[in-house]
Structure formats: C-alpha cells, structure tokens
C-alpha cells in the first residue's frame, strides 16, 4: 500500500507549493526525508543534483525517482499522479468556467489586469536566473551568450530549442 502514501505525500507537497515545481522542493524534502523517512538527507541532495542536471520540470523528476525507489513503477506512477493531477484538473475546470463567461466585461477586465502582475513575476524569475548565471560564469560570458541569444531569437527567428542546443554545445566546449 506504499503507493497510496506516495500519492498522498506528493499531493500534499505540491498542493501547498506556490510558484511552480521549484517552490515545492522544500515541501517534498519534508515529506520524503522528515516524515516518511524514504531517503536520507544526503540521498535527497544527490537526487536533486541529478534532477537539476536533466531538463524538464523538477517536481515530476523528483516524484518519479522517489516513487520508483519506494514502490517500483506503480510507485512512480502514484507519486507522479499526486504531483500533477490535482492542480492540472483544477486549472482545466477553472478555465472551463471562465470560458463560459468569456464575453462578459468582468472576465475581459480580469484578463487585462493580470498582465502587469505576470510581467512582474516573469521579471523576477528572469532576475533570479540572470544573477545565478553571472555568479557562475561571470558577467562577460553571460552578456555575450545573452546578446547572441536575443539577436538570434528576435531578429533571426531561430527556434528556442535550437538556441538551447547551441548553448549546450558552446557551454560544453568553452565553459567546462
């Protein structure tokens, strides 16, 4: 019956985490290490390091790993469902409700007013990754890569995925 516990623990950790997966990491740590004792603190940190080295959402990578470690593939599925399903279903239902009133001036006003908040939130995430990057590779490396990326994306219309692959190659050669 471990899969039930996996489902519930990962659901709790993610339901109380605001700000996307990264915000839920401390909560998952509490559930996995402190409460359930599925892993030691060191094991969790190692796993987190591996997770950060791989692409994709972080919360689901942690859920998949811990779930598999505790309960095999069934455990991984249960932990993933607990992580993803509640918030995803809530979003779909909420947007369905809003769709119905799309033409009302209230919903239109809400759509409009939310833009500046999203802009600020995106700006804050930008700042976090900018600072992290300058601290790791220095200002000039950052500025050079960022300028090239901006130019290629905005003025050459290069697909973002290609830019990321190019940055990988550059980083693997020049930043290692």
């Amino acid at each position: 019956m471990e899969w039930v516990e996996l489902f519930i623990r990962f659901m709790l950790a993610n339901i109380f985490g605001y700000g996307g997966g990264p915000a839920s990491i401390p909560l998952m740590y509490r559930e996995v290490v402190d409460h359930a004792g599925w892993m030691s603190s060191t094991e969790f940190s190692n796993m987190l390091a591996l997770g950060n080295a791989l692409p994709g959402p972080i919360a689901t990578k942690i859920a998949a790993f811990v779930g598999y470690d505790v309960g095999g593939w069934l455990g991984a599925t249960a932990a993933l469902l607990g992580t993803v399903a509640p918030s995803a279903i809530a979003l779909i239902l909420l947007l369905k409700l809003l769709q119905r009133y799309k033409q009302s001036s209230s919903v239109k006003g809400m759509t409009l007013l939310v833009q500046p908040v999203i802009a600020v939130m995106m700006l804050m995430v930008t700042w976090t990754s900018l600072r992290e990057s300058v601290l790791t590779i220095g200002f000039w490396q950052f500025a050079g890569i960022a300028a090239a990326a901006l130019y290629l994306m905005k003025f050459r219309g290069i697909h973002p995925a290609l830019l990321i692959v190019a940055a990988f190659v550059y980083g693997g050669i020049f930043l290692s």
Binding site: M47, L50, A64, T83, S105, S129, I137, Q141, F168, F174
Partner: protein, 221 residues
Amino acid sequence: MGEEAGGALTAKEAKPIEKTAAAVRYKELCIALLRTGLVGYGGGPATIPLIRHEAVTRFKWMDDDEFGEVLAIANTLPGPIATKLAAYLGYRLCGWPGGAVGVAAHIVPTGAAMIGLYAFMAFFQSSPIIQGMIAGVVPVVAVMLGVMAYEFGEKAVKGLGLWLGVGLFAGAFALLQLAGLHPAIVIFAYLVYGAFHHRVKARWKARPRRPDREGGLPWNG
C-alpha cells in the same frame, strides 16, 4: 478518437486547430510537449517561454492574450506550473484524454531518465563538460524569460494605457518584491479589481466634466 474530444471544443469551432483531425492534434501536442520537456532547463517556470513558443508561434493553438490568461490563472493555483499548462493545452486540443497525453509527453522522458541515470550520477555531478553545458544554457533561459516579461508589460500598457499600465506594473512590483506578498494574493487582488475595471473605466469616461474628451481616444494610444 474524434468523438471524445468533441465535447470540449464545441465552443470554439471557428478556430482552425479544432477542425484538424484528432490524429494531427495528438501528434502536434506530443511534438510540442516532448520538445519543451526535453530542452526546458531550470524547472517548469523556466520552460514557460518555450511552451508559449510552441502553443502560440509554432502551432498557433491560441493567441498570445489567451496564453497570458491561461498562464495567469495557472499561477493563482498551486502546484508545478509546466504540467498545469501541459494538461490544459492537451485538454484544449483533445479533451480529457489529451490532457493526460500532454502531461505524459512532457514529463515521462525526463522522469524515466531520472530513474535510469541514477547509476551515472557521480559522472553527472563531476563532469566539467556537463556542468559547462548547463552553465551555457542559463543565459539563454534568462533572455527568453526577459523577453516574455517585456511582452507582457507591453501588452499591459497597450490594454490599460501608458500611465495605468506602468502604475499597475509598479504596484505589482512593490507588492511582490518589496512587500514580499504571496503571488496568489497579488493576482487575486488584481483579478478582483479587473472584474470591475471596465465599469470603472466607463464611469470615468462618462463623468460630467470635460465632455470634449470622450469618444475619441481613451487612454490607450
């Protein structure tokens, strides 16, 4: 395959994407979400610009305004952000099964990689090449996030007018960054005012003094 998706899409039949065959929609959905899951570095929030690129620019499932609205509502709810978006895009294209397919395409490859690569973890952590590759990607992610922030700001100014747009932006910054309020509280407060915004604006324009200003250009340039 087509029938199960029908219910979710009846309201928006005019859009071209809903007219394409279910198989095509599933294929596009999988391509877009596999791709964003595999190249998105820095967790879900850093992947948002990539998802927007696929949904708005590449496959044109929705316009920018709708994506912004979805993103905003998604931010008021807790939980991982990328999977919420993946689920909604899947649902929007192919109904509930699409939601499940979208999330799976986005998270299964990296989840499986996590389990499979555990044995090689020491290599990942010590390899300077891999560390260098990750360091190379962060500036690109920062640029994508910055561009998106700018575009949302631009849209706010367009829709709300220069002064109100900038004022509300500064207000949101003060509340989020300086006062450290929870994003959900700030979004909720803005949504509540937003529900009355058009009425307030109408009353403001219809106020008795200076009748010469009504009709022509409101605040938006």
